[in-house]
Symmetry: C2
Subunit: 450 residues, 2 copies
C-alpha cells in the first residue's frame, strides 16, 4: 500500500545531497506511553513539514523522565536538523522539556519578561487565580526565543543550537529546536501563527511537496488498487490509496521546485485516474460527502428533508454540520417507532404489516411522507437494522433501504448491506455514507439532465 510513499521517501533521501533539511518529531509525556492519549500532534506536524519540503524521518515519544528525555534529544540532534518537540511545557514539576534541553546543552535559564507578563495577563483577563508555579513557564534558555501562545499559558521555544551541537561533536549542519505545548489546539495555533513564519526563512531553497486527495465511495481499496496499479508503480507523482473511515482516499503527491510545477505534474495523473474510476469519486478537494451534497443542493436551490430510522439522526446531524445548511434543511425526522412512521409520515399500517418496517416499500412511503410533511423539493429516507440485535435470516443486521423522491416523481429505493460484524455506531456511519452518496448521485443526475 505504501510502495510509492516509500519510493518518495527514498527519493527524498537521495536528494539530501542538495542541501535539504530533515526533521523529527519528539513527543514528551508519560500519558502517551500509558496509552490514554494518541499522538495526533506528530501526524499534524509531519503533514505541515511535508508541505514546506522538509522530510520527516522519525517520530519518538518518551515519558517524563530526565535521563530518557536527554538520551532521545541527543540522538535526535545528531541525526536531524530540525527537532519539533511537543509537550512538557506545563507548570508542574514533571514538565521537563525546557529544563532538560538547557541542561543537555549546558545553557543557563532566564525568566522571559515578556512571557511573564503575558502569563499574568492570561489569568487577569480570565479572572482566574494564578498559581506562582505558572511563572515557571516563562523560563527559557538564555539564548532561546519564546514562541507566543495566544491560546494558553505555556510559551513555546525557538532555539538555534547549531554551534552548541557542533561544539559537543554530536553533528554538523543547521540544528533548530522548536518546542510546543502538548495540547493540540494550542500547538496548531502556535505552529501557524509564529513557528512556521519563523522556520520558513531558515530553509534552503528546496522542493515543495504538493498533495491532492481524491475520495471514493462504493469501490474497495483492492479493486481501486488494481485499476490504478500502473500509476501506483510510478516514482513521481506518487499515487497511493488510503482506507478511510468508510471510504477510500487516493493521494497524488508531487515534489518540484515550485508549487505550480508540482501541480503540473499532478493534473494529468488526476485526469487519468478520473477517466478510469471517476464515477466513484465524490470529491477532488478532500471535502466530506455532506459538503458535496450541500454544495449540490445550493447550486440547484433545492430543499431536502430526511426521515431516518436506523441511522437515528446521524444523516441529519452530518448534513447540519455544514454552515449554511439551514438554507436547504427545514425539517428532518427520526421515526424510530412504527407509530411515528404512520402518524408523522403516513406510512400505511398495511405496508408495515405486509412487508415489515425494514423494506423497500416502507422506505418508499417514508420518503414520500417526509417530503409532504416538510414540503421540500427532495425527500430522503432510510430504514434498516443497525444491530447488534434485531437481525433475522431474511433481514440480517447491516441491511438497509434508502429512499429518495422529489415532487411528482416515483421514489427510487436502493438496498445496501454493511458488514454485520461492525459496531453499531460504525454500521450507522456506513448507512449514512451510503445515503449521502446515493443522494449525491441523484443530485448529479438531476444536474446532468438540465
Amino acid at each position: 500500500m505504501t510502495a510509492n510513499l516509500a519510493m518518495a521517501e527514498k527519493q527524498q533521501h537521495q536528494t539530501t545531497e542538495i542541501p535539504s533539511l530533515c526533521a523529527e518529531i519528539i513527543a514528551v509525556g508519560t500519558e502517551l506511553l500509558m496509552g490514554e492519549v494518541v499522538n495526533s500532534n506528530a501526524s499534524f506536524l509531519s503533514g505541515e513539514l511535508g508541505r514546506i519540503g522538509v522530510n520527516v524521518f522519525y517520530h519518538t515519544a518518551v515519558g517524563d523522565n530526565p535521563k530518557r528525555i536527554q538520551g532521545i534529544f541527543k540522538e535526535a540532534l545528531s541525526r536531524s536538523n530540525i527537532l519539533l518537540v511537543t509537550g512538557g511545557l506545563g507548570p508542574t514539576d514533571d514538565d521537563l522539556t525546557v529544563s532538560t534541553l538547557a541542561a543537555l546543552l549546558d545553557t543557563p535559564m532566564v525568566r522571559d519578561k515578556v512571557s511573564e507578563s503575558q502569563i499574568r495577563k492570561f489569568f487577569i483577563t480570565r479572572d482566574m487565580p494564578m498559581s506562582p508555579t505558572n511563572l515557571k513557564q516563562a523560563d527559557r534558555p538564555i539564548d532561546a526565543e519564546p514562541l507566543y501562545n495566544h491560546m494558553g499559558t505555556a510559551p513555546g521555544l525557538f532555539w538555534d543550537v547549531t554551534e552548541k551541537v557542533e561544539q559537543k561533536g554530536w553533528g554538523t549542519g543547521p540544528k533548530y529546536i522548536l518546542a510546543f505545548p502538548g495540547v493540540p489546539r494550542e500547538m496548531k495555533a502556535m505552529w501557524e501563527a509564529v513557528a512556521l513564519p519563523k522556520l520558513k526563512p531558515l530553509l534552503p531553497n528546496q522542493s515543495v511537496l504538493i498533495t491532492r486527495f481524491l475520495k471514493f465511495f462504493g469501490i474497495g481499496e483492492s479493486l481501486l488498487g488494481e485499476k490504478l496499479q500502473d500509476l501506483m508503480a510510478q516514482a513521481s507523482p506518487t499515487v497511493s490509496p488510503y482506507v478511510g473511515q468508510a471510504d477510500v482516499k487516493i493521494r497524488i503527491a508531487a515534489k518540484a521546485p515550485t508549487p505550480q510545477e508540482a501541480i503540473d505534474l499532478i493534473e494529468p495523473i488526476e485526469a487519468e485516474i478520473l477517466a478510469r474510476v471517476g464515477k466513484y469519486c465524490y470529491t477532488k478537494d478532500d471535502s466530506l460527502l455532506e459538503d458535496v451534497v450541500g454544495q449540490l443542493l445550493k447550486e440547484k436551490q433545492l430543499t431536502l428533508s430526511v426521515a431516518e430510522s436506523c441511522t437515528g439522526g446521524l444523516i441529519s446531524s452530518r448534513l447540519t454540520d455544514i454552515s449554511g445548511s439551514s438554507d436547504y434543511i427545514l425539517l428532518n425526522a427520526v421515526t424510530y417507532s412504527n407509530e411515528a412512521k404512520q402518524k408523522l409520515l403516513g406510512v400505511s399500517a398495511t405496508t408495515l404489516e405486509q412487508y415489515g418496517a425494514v423494506s423497500e416499500q416502507v422506505a418508499s412511503e417514508m420518503a414520500l411522507g417526509i417530503l409532504k410533511q416538510a414540503n421540500t423539493d427532495i425527500g430522503m429516507s432510510i430504514t434498516g437494522i443497525a444491530g447488534p440485535t434485531g437481525g433475522s435470516e431474511t433481514k440480517p443486521i447491516g441491511l438497509a433501504y434508502i429512499g429518495i423522491t422529489s415532487r411528482n416523481e416515483k421514489p427510487l429505493v436502493k438496498k445496501v448491506s454493511v458488514n454485520p460484524q461492525y459496531q453499531r455506531p460504525y454500521i450507522k456511519y456506513w448507512f449514512s455514507q451510503y445515503a449521502l452518496n446515493y443522494l449525491r448521485l441523484y443530485l448529479q443526475d438531476l444536474l446532468h439532465s438540465d
Copy 2:
C-alpha cells in the same frame, strides 16, 4: 497534569531492580511520517502492556527505509526487553520489517508452510485472485514463530532473540520481538488471540496495573485539579486528570501484586473523590453520557422524545448509538425552520416573533410540543446558535437553551454558553453534552424523588 503519571513511571523505573521487563513500540511505515495516518496502534498496545505490568518507555515511528529501520531496531534491542513492531508486513516491496530484522540478526529466512496454506485459504474462501507476491508474507526468520492473522493475510511474528542480541554484545536479559500488521483491527485481533497468550507466560511475576476512570461534566480541569490536589500529589494510587472531547476524566491507577489488591487501593480514593466532586461525575465505568441516560430511562421505564434545532440531530444520533434505545426513543424531530417549529411542535408565531427562535420561551414550547407530538413521558428540546454565522450582540454564537418537560409539568429551561471560537461541529457536540447531562440530572432527581 501528568505529575503522578510521571511519578508512577519513575516508580516503575525504580522497581526494575525486581526483574520487570520494559517494552517499546515501533511503528514501521512512511505513511506515518507523511502525517496522513495517526499511530493509534502505539496507544492501544501501551495500554495493553500497562495492564499486564510491563512498562513502556519509548514509542518510535520510522519510514520504509532499511538503513533507518535497522538503526531503530538495534537501539531498541539494546535498551528494551520487548519490541512490539507494527506495520511493514504487507506483500509489497516496501514492506521491510521481517527481512530487515532477519538481516540485522544474520538469520536466514524460510517460507512457513502453515502460513502459506493459510494465505492461500484466505483468498480461496473469499473467491479473490491471489497475487504470487502475497506468498512473500509467509516468509519468516528460521527460528521465529508465525502469529496467525485470522483477519488478514499478513501473519505476525514472535521471535526470541535473547541469545542473538547477547552475542552481538548489544545488551543482556530477555529480548523478544513481536511483529504485527499495521491495520489496527488486524493488530488488535492478533494481540488478543495469539500474541498476549504467547507473551504473558514469559513475564516475571510482576505487579498488575489496574486503572479506573471517573468522568465529569460541568467542572473544568483546573478546578477539579484544585479540589483533588492532595490526592493527585500521592504516589499511589495515582490520580490524574485528562481533558476529554467535552468533559474531564479522572484516572485512578494502582499497581499491586494482584488485581484485588490494586482494587482495594483504588476504592477508598474513589470514594473520597466522589465525596468532594461527586455531583459532577456522570460515570464510574468510563461509559458515555448517552449510555448513562439510556440506563436511567430503562430503569424508570420512561420514553423520551427530542426536538433539536442547533444540534441538527446529533443528540438523537448519540441516543440511538445505544443498543436497545428503541425501547425509549419513539420519535425525534430536527425542526430547523421556524415553520417546522410551528407546524410540527405547535410553537406559536407570536412567541417566535416576540422572543426569537433562540429563546427560553421557544425552548419551552418546543419541549412541550415534541412530548405531545411523540406522546412520550419526557420531552427535551434545544435551540441555539452553532455559528460560524448568525450570532448577534444579544444572542452570540455558542448560546443555547435546553428545555425539558414531562407530562403535567412546567418545562424547565437551562441556558448554556459554549466558546464561540470552536468549530461548528464541536459547538454542536458541546451543546449535546450539555443537553444529555441536563437530562441525566433531571432523571436522577426523578429517581431520588421516588
